[in-house]
Symmetry: C2
Subunit: 197 residues, 2 copies
């Protein structure tokens, strides 16, 4: 019904996260009908990003600079927050509650997936743990792989005598008790805190 060029485009876009054939078609259509205002600028932005954005050789984040803006910022506190992905790093940056540095593993230890410490650049992380690092925060998912990765890293970091912490777990803000799983509830209960006053 439509030309092969359009079908190819829709096919590629439909495989992007959160998109399907329907939404990809809508987007392709909008792009094609607003060639000058939308399609060409997008091609330009994608090309510039493809050309300039690289993985930071220090932390594994994404930026057009290497080291990235965060690694290169002297104002950042001497702590390293270990995350699974750049998405997690961005989420923490958006929350702007942390002013330290990051280390992006790019995955989690997984026996099934056969991902070992080397694939995750754990040696790279260890190499960053000089005297200046005050704390390592493990902001890893509360999944089996996430927790075993956290456990493994804790063991490895021990020898450096650097305090290791992990994000608190419990009832999410705005989370209703009713829909929470038993695991989270048990955890939130055992880690309950005294109400001041």
């Amino acid at each position: 019904m439509t030309g092969p060029e359009i079908e190819t485009l829709i096919g590629l876009m439909a495989r992007l996260p959160g998109l399907g054939p329907r939404s990809a078609r809508r987007i392709a259509l909008r792009l094609l009908s607003e060639r000058e205002q939308r399609l060409l600028p997008l091609i330009g932005a994608l090309s510039v990003a493809a050309e300039r954005v690289r993985v930071c050789s220090v932390c594994g984040g994404l930026d057009s600079r290497d080291p990235c803006a965060i690694c290169g910022d002297p104002g950042r506190e001497p702590m390293i927050c270990v995350v699974e992905s750049v998405a997690d790093q961005w989420a923490l940056e958006r929350a702007s509650i942390y002013r330290g540095r990051y280390h992006v593993l790019g995955g989690l230890l997984s026996a099934i997936g056969g991902r070992g410490p080397e694939q995750l650049g754990v040696p790279k992380l260890m190499a960053r743990l000089d005297g200046s690092v005050r704390e390592v925060i493990l902001a890893l998912p509360a999944t089996v792989d996430g927790q075993s990765t956290a456990h493994y890293l804790t063991e490895r970091i021990k020898s450096f005598a650097i305090p290791v912490t992990r994000l608190a777990q419990g009832v999410p803000v705005g989370g209703s008790i009713e829909i929470l799983d038993e695991g989270t509830l048990a955890l939130a209960m055992s880690a309950r805190r005294a109400v001041p006053g």
Copy 2:
């Protein structure tokens, strides 16, 4: 937090239909982290589309050929289905219940919007109404502008002595009566049909 290149990219994508800052960020991130497998192919497909896909000079559809594949297909029946947008044309093609030709208005008559018959290529449509055209189907939205456009076109086409039809209106398939607006219900009631047998 991220480089200007990434922010520009996210900004452009966030303005695409169905996307927002959050989903655009996810997509940008996926593209940047899978440069070879996703980003470069997408840039390629977008560039090819930008270069080749044009508006069909006959029907106003989009294709890499001009006249488009549909206009150039001798197998299509000599009827013209008038639609507001290419999106509507594609929807009808997907339903594959119609094997005729199309005419894409690219909008609707609107006193407020100040869009007149010329902007909508109505003269172009009239020029297509030679003896061979057996029927003109008005597949226009059931909105005020849609209906006034349909009315205007019906008046214009009268002189050609070509039958003009419009899509049936009523209860959509799978539509529950409860949630339907009064207008649709009144229309579905007045246009009710005898149950055979």
